[in-house]
Every structure is written in C-alpha cells, then in structure tokens.
C-alpha cells in the first residue's frame, strides 16, 4: 500500500480518515495531533518539560513527538525513568529508556528504586500485602512528581494514549470507582508541591504509537511485566473498545471527546492538606506513599533522604 501523501510504502492505514501514511507522514500527522493537545500548556521558553519514560512504546513516542515540538516552542525536554527492580523486565525497560534518550538527544535521569528506597516495588508490595500493580502505581506517581519538583519542571508529561484513557473511563463507569473526569483532561494544573501533568498522546491510538515507535524506529521494550493482570477489567475494556473501533472507525476518539465535554460527576474535589511526613499535598492526612513506606520499612523510614537522593538523580536536568 502506498502513502496517500507521497509514493512511499505506507506503514499504517487510518481507517476513519481513509488515508495510508508512510513513516514520515505518520510522524507529521502525530506531531499535529500532539500540537493540538499541548497547545497553550507547554512550558515557557527555556522551561523544562519532563517526560516520564517507562521504556515502553507509548512514552517513547510521546518523548520523540515532544522533541519534534521543542525546537520551535523553545522549551527544554528532559526524561525521567524509574527502575522498579522487577528483574530482567526492568533491566530491559531501563536499557530501552537510556537508548531512547540517546536516540532523540535528550538528557535522562534514572531513579533506581532499590537505590532510593532500599527496596524494589515487589518487596514493598509484599511487605504491605498489596497487589504489586497497586503499590507500583503509588510509588511511580509519588516519585515522578518528586522528580519533577526537584528538577524544577514546569510540567510532567506521561505516555497515556487514547486507548488507555478510553479503557480507564469505561472501567471507571463499569465499576463506579475512581474519578475519570481528571484523567480525561489534556493537562492538570500544578500547585504548590504538585507539578502539572500533560497527556500529549490523549488523541493518539495505541496502534498509532506502536507503528510510530517501530517505523521511526525508536528504542523500546515490548516485554510484558510479570505482574501484569491478564484477567483484569482494563485489558478486557481495551479489547472491547478495539472491537467496537474495528466496526465503527473513530469511535474511541469521539467517545473520549464527548465524555470530556460532560461536566464532572460526583461531589466536590477533596480538600488537599499536607502530608505530616513529607509535606507534599495529600487528601488524607498522611499521603498514600508515606503510609505505605512506613508500613513496609518501619519507623526508621523517613522521606528526607529519599528527597535528597531524587534531587541528586535529576540534578543533570536542571
């Protein structure tokens, strides 16, 4: 199949547009999608946009596409990777993240969980009796925000794509748990102790991100986490949405757009206080991360040393 814009071989056919795109025109198409999403929310000239890179295809695509925009918009791009210490899986992810940084020409800060916490994510989860994925989410959210704060970043970008957000919204609707309204926003405003978020891929399908990463090509790891729950609702939701998309091209994008236009459901935003241990924002007295770490590592654990170690890890991004 030939590219609809030139005579080169196409790498993807976008059904709802009825257009085939070669790697270069796919990049152009995705840069424009990302530009529309991030417009007005980028750091000022010289400011730092920190991208959380896991080593996977989506955050690799997000970093590369933002790099394409960084020249004209004048912001600095930095990457941060959290090594979760999940054996060979994490080693492959870390390697891919470092290679990605080299490939797109951006500095990267590595935060090694055993190095900064004294325990990997599996050990933390076991000690507190939580599923690994749940502990992992708490650890990553906390450390990425801390890294962005210590690096002086204006925004923290993540690789959540259209399929992630649609599946999350569907799961939240099915289970009636969680606040999907905030996940649907392209950006989240920052405040003291919290760096605002940016979701540059929120209109990019997971398949588009994969084809982009493969055809650019970008270094990424495509291995499955050994703790991934193949029977989880989120995976089923993604498959279901994909099968609907197969018969109704463009369905996922319009689902998200319509949902984002609806007013948020539920009560008022929780009032945010400060964690008594680390001082960062928390809606429940002591924050979820400090509660978990105290249970996992005992009274001896205190967040000051962690903050110092993270500051050291991200110093090169300043």
């Amino acid at each position: 199949m030939r590219c609809s814009s030139c005579s080169l071989d196409a790498a993807i056919y976008i059904r709802h547009l009825r257009r085939a795109l070669c790697p270069a025109h796919l990049e152009q198409y995705l840069v424009e999608k990302v530009r529309r999403v991030v417009e007005g929310h980028l750091p000022p000239r010289g400011g730092l946009l920190l991208v959380a890179v896991s080593g996977g295809k989506d955050s690799a695509a997000a970093a590369s596409l933002l790099k394409e925009l960084s020249g004209e918009a004048g912001f600095r791009l930095g990457l941060v990777h959290v090594d979760l210490n999940i054996g060979s899986y994490s080693e492959a992810c870390r390697r891919a993240a470092v290679e990605l940084a080299e490939s797109i020409g951006a500095p990267i800060a590595l935060i090694d969980l055993e190095g900064v916490l004294g325990a990997g994510v599996v050990e933390v989860a076991e000690r507190v009796g939580r599923p690994t994925c749940s502990a992992c989410g708490v650890v990553k959210r906390y450390l990425l925000n801390l890294a962005a704060l210590e690096a002086g970043a204006h925004r923290l970008a993540t690789g959540h794509n259209l399929d992630d957000i649609a599946a999350y919204a569907l799961k939240a609707h099915l289970t009636q748990e969680g606040d999907y309204a905030s996940k649907l926003l392209r950006h989240t405003e920052g405040f003291e102790g919290f760096v605002g978020r940016l979701r540059p891929l929120m209109e990019v399908e997971e398949r588009e991100a994969l084809v982009y990463a493969l055809s650019k090509p970008l270094p990424f790891s495509h291995e499955e986490c050994p703790h991934f729950n193949r029977r989880g609702i989120e995976l089923k939701a993604k498959r279901f949405l994909m099968s609907v998309e197969a018969d109704s091209p463009g369905f996922k994008a319009s689902f998200i757009r319509r949902l984002a236009k609806r007013p948020p459901v539920g009560g008022a935003e929780p009032r945010l206080g400060r964690c008594d241990l680390c001082g960062l924002p928390s809606s429940a007295g002591r924050c979820a991360f400090c509660r978990m770490m105290r249970r996992a590592l005992g009274e001896a654990w205190e967040p000051g040393a962690l903050r110092g170690a993270v500051a050291e890890a991200v110093a090169k991004l300043k």
Binding site: M1, G56, D163, R207, L210, V211, S215, C225, L235
Partner: protein, 75 residues
C-alpha cells in the same frame, strides 16, 4: 505477478517471543492476523524492520515479527 493464494510464513510474537510457522490462506497481512486469532487493529506485523499494512501481501518463507498492540508492560 499473481499472488499465491496460500503461503507458509515464520512468525515471532512479541511480547513473549513465541515462534511458530503459520499457513496463511489469502496471503495478506490481514489473513495472517485472522489466522492467528487477532481482531482488526490488535497486532502489527513487521518484515525485515519494515511495518506492513493489513493489505500488504506476504510471500512464501517470510520471516515476520507480530507485535501485539496491547502489551501489558511498560507503556
């Protein structure tokens, strides 16, 4: 040149790295993915480092890597 209506190809599936040989009737990428049980859009096929579209043809003895779109790992 008329395309063969049936070809045998070698595939490696990622994630996992499982290798197998698949006989494909129809000899297009979409036929291979259907034969492997994927729904449209669930997987992407690469031949010699080049991403193929679903209507691209396959040849006897092709060595292919099939990337599942939903990986369940780092994203």
């Amino acid at each position: 040149m008329a395309r063969a209506s049936k070809v045998r190809v070698a595939v490696e599936v990622r994630p996992g790295g499982l290798r197998s040989e698949v006989e494909v009737r129809g000899a297009r990428v979409a036929d291979l993915l259907r034969a492997m049980g994927y729904e449209r859009g669930e997987a992407v096929v690469v031949r010699r480092g080049k991403v193929l579209t679903e209507v691209d043809g396959l040849a006897e003895g092709d060595e292919l890597v099939v990337y599942e779109v939903i990986s369940g790992g780092a994203s």
